[in-house]
Symmetry: C2
Subunit: 142 residues, 2 copies
């Protein structure tokens, strides 16, 4: 897939401020962010970002979300090792959704599948359409 994207690295502070001004964070201070593998177009996951995670992601070039369940910054891959390198961050027309073009290390899904969208609605019922590639116990050792 042609993404017309340029590798992101150390976006300057004034550009980060410009981006933050365009983004409309919701009442909880969050915005949904889609992570898409930059070269294949595969949608990997959707998660949430706050101002701080957008800033860190743009400054570091490594994707950082806000974990709603844990109530803290979530540097994707910090536990599992399945890091997302940022290729490009895009903002939609209304400023209320972010698209992250990324380079995903290994698998994006906590189930050990490459992406989170593995349940398809078919005429004869719900079907699981992707295999587990890495045992989740290896991603999250106890």
């Amino acid at each position: 897939m042609r993404t017309n994207s340029v590798m992101t690295e150390n976006i300057p502070e004034n550009v980060i401020s410009e981006a933050l001004e365009l983004i409309k964070f919701d009442e909880a201070g969050l915005v949904p962010a889609i992570a898409q593998q930059h070269d294949t177009g595969e949608n990997l996951m959707l998660a949430w970002m706050n101002k701080e995670s957008v800033s860190e992601t743009l400054a570091s070039g490594r994707v950082c979300y806000w974990s709603r369940s844990r109530g803290k910054l979530w540097r994707k891959g910090e536990t599992s090792g399945q890091v997302q390198k940022l290729i490009e961050l895009r903002i939609d027309c209304d400023g209320d959704t972010i698209l992250l073009l990324v380079d995903q290390e290994g698998v994006a899904c906590h189930t050990g599948r490459r992406n989170c969208f593995f349940r398809a609605v078919r005429n004869d019922g719900l079907k699981s359409i992707a295999d587990v590639e890495i045992n989740p116990n290896k991603l999250y050792p106890k």
Copy 2:
């Protein structure tokens, strides 16, 4: 892009119920839905769905969202003519995001661009990376 998908048409009621049970609608009864062009992998937009819009989409094969601003069902293309035909609906691992593989007629964005994600954060500032393909006045005549 290989999407491994099968055309959706008239999903039976029992399968629609099965899908609705898997989806975790938020406090407002909504779930975010990503619309992706099924054959190219282009992400077109993100909008919101409630139970009724998911049911209608699966039953009709034409994408119907819930408009948060207008507070009513939004049959994509009802005003603009830019219809989204459903190819496949997928549910993510946590049940809190929907991925719609669609066939988009014309343009998805109300600005007249093919997709909504046309503002890219680059090292030297925010860049508009897509041209208007259809004059918005033609999409929404007064």
